[in-house]
Symmetry: C2
Subunit: 243 residues, 2 copies
């Protein structure tokens, strides 16, 4: 399992991902699930992945190959609108899954993978897309300014409480960190390090990026203060009549 999320606020985009992958419970490994592609002044794309590691790695290899191949039909740098890139990633994902479909069916396995694509082209606004394993996709909106893939439930309540389009980029980043931390505490298949990227609307340059381990001062102090704050809030909740 994985947990990745992205938030689209007026001031820009926030991306966050965990780094744990597992095949069953007896094979656990660490892989980055955040992939950044930047052409300064022209286009920024960030891709988050969840689901089958084989499928998501194959899709990223195909993206890289198409970028290096001048005869490729489409690539990450092509298409005026970001939804064309979302559609392209959906096609790559479906092609990869179908390649192995007969063998996967025989072993009753799944090669499904989900993707979040976020970024900006020179002529467009900041956008976020979630690409389903079936290759179709949806975008974030003003009413639903965040998208999640993987183990999305544990970390959703805090997003629902805090995130609106007017949330600052930094607050959205902190909220993403808390959302990841809550998930990591409750689900052993989601684990650190946590990658966090923040892209300022209109910048068209590499987003701020950091990789936080449980020993990183920012992660440790956020975790500690959040935990203490929750406990303090909890300790002041209304009493029952007899207390």
């Amino acid at each position: 399992m994985s947990y990745c999320l992205a938030i689209n606020v007026n001031r820009g985009l926030v991306f966050a991902s965990d780094s744990r992958t597992n095949a069953g419970v007896d094979y656990v490994a660490t892989y980055s699930k955040m992939h950044r592609f930047v052409w300064p002044g022209e286009r920024v794309c960030v891709i988050l992945t969840a689901g089958s590691l084989a499928t998501s790695q194959a899709v990223l290899h195909a993206i890289q190959s198409d970028l290096e191949n001048p005869d490729a039909e489409f690539d990450l740098r092509a298409g005026e609108h970001l939804h064309q890139v979302a559609s392209y990633i959906g096609r790559l994902s479906q092609a990869e899954q179908q390649l192995h479909a007969p063998a996967l069916e025989r072993s009753q396995s799944s090669a499904e993978a989900s993707f979040i694509l976020g970024g900006q082209t020179a002529d467009g606004p900041c956008e976020l897309y979630m690409i389903y394993p079936q290759g179709n996709y949806i975008s974030a909106s003003e009413d639903t300014p965040y998208l999640q893939i993987g183990e999305n439930k544990y970390g959703k309540p805090i997003l629902d409480r805090i995130i609106t389009p007017t949330t600052s980029l930094e607050d959205a980043g902190r909220c993403a960190l808390v959302s990841l931390d809550s998930t990591i505490r409750s689900n052993i298949s989601v684990g650190p390090p946590v990658e966090l990227a923040m892209y300022q609307e209109g910048a068209l340059e590499a987003p701020y990026h950091t990789k936080l381990t449980p020993f990183s001062p920012m992660y440790k102090s956020t975790q500690k203060q959040w935990n203490e704050g929750l406990r303090q809030t909890f300790s002041h909740l209304p009493r029952f009549d007899w207390e």
Copy 2:
């Protein structure tokens, strides 16, 4: 979907349940999912239900019939240990599901239901059991002092942060309320009123019970203070270097 949970702390037991049931998204209704059976001085049983409403209602009818039938092989009042009662509920649930299995398979429906059983017999400690749709069951323990059925993920992080065996009964009750409220905010298939019951270890009498609507002062003030406290805690989280 439903969300029910029960907590076993040193001082007693807490039970909480939502009241929303639905068949698809276009038929939503309100049903209590908390059922209390009390024989003062002798035995207290509380049963929470999630999953198929038909199955859980049939199980409760069977429990009632057995209690009224002096020739019943077993009933809720029988068995020295509470795990015998858990096993009995599992048998009733499986019998009901198997009765309709052929018809259900034809319509690709599920009649699965889960139960939480908690209580105390005159000679035993407070105990909690979760009964799977397959009829087998597990108990809570000192390391895992709570059990959940239904939509259990949204409300789990706060339980993991707060609940230990030494938590007071009232704090466990408040924590259950916050856990329910977080779930209700994030999942439309879980809804009020919220039922809350609190049983003091050794009392062997009817547990405290309340039904809270979103307009109940206790629910409203808990919700408001929790939301404000989270926002305040959030607003004091560590800043990024450039802030």
